[in-house]
Symmetry: C2
Amino acid sequence: MTSLRSVHLDPQTGCALVLDRGQTLRVRSPTGQQVADVVAFAARSARSAGDAPGTGPRADPDEWFSSGRTIDYGMSIYVTTGSVLYSNRSTPMLTITADTAGRHDLLVSPCSEEMFERLYGVAGHPSCLSNLAEHLGPFGVPAGRIPTTLNLFMVVTPDPVTGRITIEAPSSRPGDHVDLRAEVDLVVGVAACSAEITNRGTLEPIEVEVHDDR
Amino acid sequence: MTSLRSVHLDPQTGCALVLDRGQTLRVRSPTGQQVADVVAFAARSARSAGDAPGTGPRADPDEWFSSGRTIDYGMSIYVTTGSVLYSNRSTPMLTITADTAGRHDLLVSPCSEEMFERLYGVAGHPSCLSNLAEHLGPFGVPAGRIPTTLNLFMVVTPDPVTGRITIEAPSSRPGDHVDLRAEVDLVVGVAACSAEITNRGTLEPIEVEVHDDR
């Protein structure tokens, strides 16, 4: 596998990158026990109406990774190797082609400044939503367009009778990774989750790589 | 309780309406065994920048009902009396003040034309997404902005070990209803679900009422 690009995410940071159809996004937890939030938007062609000349790659904020459609088509709240991630328009966006951890979450939204204020009375806390918005903004995706994320390595378990969810320690051991193959041209965002409680109190880095073995 | 407005939804149709803070949306299933998809957007003030003079009420497509945030704050995949429905910006949008049925779904996205094509090879099937988009469009919400809905009376049960979901018969008996009190000014959409399989093969009407007992 040829690694085209790699991004080291310091704790509580994020990135956004373009993923061409057929390329693979690898999200790796070097330390384990760290959640990574992932979101994807369809890439727009460079010639979309309204773009200024010379504008770089842009995302289509109207076609986004849909946790609800992914659950519906996969008939599962969990995803792992073989699972397809769908857009709100039912387009297969990404296929999970490798998964050394085995459990991830599709249920809860990315942590946000408002969440830390509401739950802990803390203002200005770093968050996945603000980190994703900061890096997706230049591609044309404002914060208000970021949907429920795929929360890699996050373990959220519902009780089927009461509905109550429990959030357990992340599924990842040191070096665990997930590979996601792009089925269409995409702009993806990845954040090393900023929530202390979700990550056993220790916030760790995440490694992001783009591979191409077409 | 004073009924201000009521809308009869024929099978496989939808509506959108303005709900002022403090007003209550009642969604009633006269026949039972019928799912109703509900979505909400924050209402914009009439004077928002960019509105043409004389423009009617508009929705803010950047503040929408978030199933993911509702699950996160409520720590449950189910909602019933007392549950609060949150926006992507963590604003309490609606509180369920009455619920005679008891089970509803936050996990799966509204049925769409693409879904019927993908699952059954049927083109042009009526769908919740197109019915919601048709009626929310005049308020400034295109189809690409409609998130995972609150699916009233829909029974989706996940297996906590495998993640697999099962979709069972709707929870509603004849006359069951849910009351949702607006915590802020809203534009809401409601659709009588168009999916035969979700509704035991028989598609029924839904009654929508706005009450005001402030």
